[in-house]
């Protein structure tokens, strides 16, 4: 299962930013795809779940890795 996770390394991404990178990836992914965003922007762990809720996507969780967070979402629609 871990092999199927798409990882987006958005560390250091001020523009377009981690959430925009996630939206870009989710648009071209298959339904069911799990996407993990690596972000050192502290706002991402708030922005990403909020957007996932608005857009009807499944927010799976946040894992802290010291200097960055890994935020995971599943494409469901």
């Amino acid at each position: 299962m871990a092999d199927n996770i798409m990882v987006i390394d958005a560390r250091g991404s001020f523009c377009p930013g981690p959430l925009m990178e996630l939206i870009r990836a989710i648009k071209s992914a298959e339904i069911g795809q799990v996407i993990a965003v690596l972000s050192n922007d502290s706002g991402s762990k708030k922005d990403i779940p909020l957007w996932a809720g608005k857009a009807g996507q499944e927010f799976i969780g946040v894992e802290a890795h010291g200097e960055y967070d890994e935020i995971t979402v599943r494409k469901v629609r």
Binding site: I8, A10, P16, M20
Partner: protein
């Protein structure tokens, strides 16, 4: 002889070719090194000018020059389209002639509009991301006498400050023409704030409110109904419009997909500091064509070109491994109306701050629009 082949004659490709050819002019003249630039168009178009064309502030002729006039001596320009890259055989196959062999390859194939991704977009919207689109929008604006103008933003897109620039310029343009009171201006954005960069969003929100612009966040356009004049978001919001101005979603050139080298969206997986195609030390990528989480903008291509050219000069002349690293550097002017502008400057480690807009920065940008050619030629 060592051969450098560059695919794509936009900002990134031209700058790399010119930097390398100027540094290695002696070796090129002696036949020790060759620099070949492959481009499917024989004219270069300065894309940041499209915004001004839409508002009748620049003419198309000011944005276009023949590529052959922009090349340093010693560069061979091949006007043709690359159709496949064979990284094992180290050749670039092209549509109209013999394949080009390389020792080092640079992919600077840019990005283009992906209008098909949003049903109804090409029929229902205007945009200023192609010259043809900018001219059609210009004609529409010449006729515009008021109504609801909606700005929508696709993902990913190039020049991430352009949505703000268009909105702020439109506001002042409508005031000057005396039609602002008859015009409702709606700025939508895909995220939960007015721009992806938090400091820019913080600055832009009150600027937009002050101008009487309605801001609608979490709006990712999903489809457009041209007959009903309504745009729908994937978050479930519908907005009716009289004039829809879209920043269309973009995708990379199909060459990457045809060669089996690109990921979804036709972006090349690229090392964020060395700019090599992941897994290859003889193929490099720059500009919009990369999958890097940075702005797709001319300034990014420029700063990447400087790093890449320095590394290529070392590789071609001495075989020395790449020593220069790209820091994620970007610089963007932001027009905040017809008379003032500001700018942001940032890299992977340092987020931008937005200085107070001034008339001087606006004129600096106007000047840059007219001297960009010197930058392309790598003489600035």
């Amino acid at each position: 002889m060592k051969r450098l082949v560059i695919v794509g004659a936009g900002t990134g490709g031209l700058m790399v070719a010119n930097f390398v050819a100027r540094d290695l002019s002696r070796e090129i003249a002696h036949g020790e090194i060759s620099v070949t630039l492959l481009g499917d168009k024989d004219e270069y178009i300065y894309q940041p000018g499209f915004l001004y064309v839409a508002f009748d502030l620049m003419r198309p002729a000011q944005l276009i020059r023949p590529i052959r006039e922009l090349l340093a001596p010693g560069i061979e320009f091949v006007h043709d389209r690359a159709v496949r890259i064979d990284p094992e055989g180290k050749v670039v196959e092209r549509a109209g002639g013999e394949a080009l062999r390389y020792d080092y390859l640079v992919l600077a194939t840019g990005s283009g509009l992906n209008l098909q991704e949003v049903p109804g977009l090409s029929e229902g919207a205007h945009w200023f991301y192609t010259l043809e689109g900018a001219l059609q929008l210009r004609d529409e604006l010449r006729r515009f006498a008021g109504g609801r103008v909606v700005l929508t933003v696709g993902v990913p897109h190039k020049c991430p400050v352009a949505p703000l620039e268009f909105t702020m310029m439109f506001d002042e343009w409508a005031r000057v023409r005396g039609i602002r009171e008859q015009t409702e201006l709606v700025y939508t954005y895909p995220l939960g704030r007015a721009h992806s960069i938090p400091s820019v969003a913080e600055w832009a929100q009150p600027e937009l409110e002050h101008r009487g612009v309605r801001v609608e966040t979490f709006f990712n356009m999903e489809s457009v109904e041209p007959d009903q004049k309504v745009v729908h978001s994937l978050e479930g919001t519908d907005i009716a419009y009289d004039l829809l101005v879209a920043i269309p979603p973009h995708r990379g050139d199909e060459l990457g997909a045809l060669s089996g080298l690109a990921e979804a969206g036709n972006w090349y997986p690229t090392d964020r500091n060395r700019l090599n195609l992941n897994g290859r030390d003889d193929v490099f990528v720059l500009g919009d064509a990369t999958n890097l989480p940075i702005s797709k903008a001319g300034s990014v291509a420029h700063f990447e070109a400087e790093v890449l050219a320095d590394n290529l000069v070392g590789l071609l002349a001495e075989g020395s491994p790449p020593a220069y690293l790209y820091s994620g550097r970007a610089f963007c002017f932001i027009e905040t109306g017809l008379e003032r502008a500001t700018f942001i400057s940032f890299d992977y480690l340092n987020p931008p701050k937005v200085p107070q807009p001034t008339n001087a920065v606006h004129w600096f940008k106007q000047t840059y629009n007219r001297i960009h050619w010197a930058n392309l030629k790598a003489v600035m």
